[in-house]
Amino acid sequence: MTTIPAIPAVTDSHLFITRAFDAPREVVWKFFTQPELLARWFGPAEVHVDPASVVVELRVGGRWDLDMVDNASGERYPLRATLTVVTPPEYFEGVTAAVEGSGPQAELKLRVWFHDHGSKTRLTLHQGPFTPEFRDMTGAGWEASFVKIDALVASGEVS
């Protein structure tokens, strides 16, 4: 059994988000790990996910991939991650794959904790390292995405 790491200290170089969802932990976990659900919320308001691009392999070394598509321009924003720790429904950890020719920020680690609060779930997300600008832009992207999860939960179609 994998030990779930303690939540690290907040630093300037890392994004740190903690946020509650009005759904049980198993449901919130599904939003991150079931391709058809992941496709429905990932990305800020001005993009959507190409459902055909989503690949989730829930195991160590498995993929967590998708393409976001800009609603206005059609530009694609690929996400290519490799899962390094998978402990359903409590925790997963991944590293973004080096996109061809990517810069010094290629090695980004993403860690997500799902805390059980009965009918609610608190999620803690830790990601980095970033420069302050990219940390803030990424944080804004997650927050805008999470609003989409709220709407899907409120609609009652996922349980």
């Binding site: 924003y77 690929p78 973004t96 990517s102 810069g103 290629a106 990219f134 990424t138 992207g141």
Partner: protein
């Protein structure tokens, strides 16, 4: 004097420059053309935001974008920056005036503090013998 009928190209340039992320993107593009991912956003959550910045830079004429296969490259365009620089160069004479005043102040300072006669205290020729 700039004619009022002339198309205002400077405002979009200075507006585009008034953002640290966009200035960082321009600095990066001085080295070479780059895709959104190469501009420091390998995690896609920030790429739409970077794309917005690129559209602002493109609108100001500071970059152009071209497609190579599926990748979209941004390329630095120097012309609008040259116009901005020419505009700012008008301030050069104010800097030169300041430097002239600095010269004068320095000269005055040196004249005040310079010793009028050579009263330099040369060390005594007799050396104390360390026992």
């Amino acid at each position: 004097m700039t004619s009022s009928t002339q198309v205002d190209t400077l405002s979009p340039v200075f507006s585009a420059l008034a953002d640290p992320t966009r200035r960082a993107i321009l600095m990066r593009l001085m080295q070479s053309d780059a895709t959104v991912a190469e501009l420091g956003a390998p995690f896609s959550m920030s790429q739409p935001a970077v794309s917005k910045h690129l559209r602002v830079l493109e609108g100001a004429g500071l970059i152009s974008r071209s497609k190579v296969a599926t990748a979209r490259y941004s390329h630095l365009e120097a012309e609008p920056m040259q116009q901005a620089n020419e505009w700012m160069q008008q301030y050069k004479r104010f800097w030169n005036a300041s430097f002239d005043r600095l010269d004068a102040a320095l000269a005055e300072f040196m004249a005040d503090t310079a010793p009028s006669t050579d009263t330099s205290t040369a060390p005594s020729e007799t050396k104390e013998n360390p026992s």
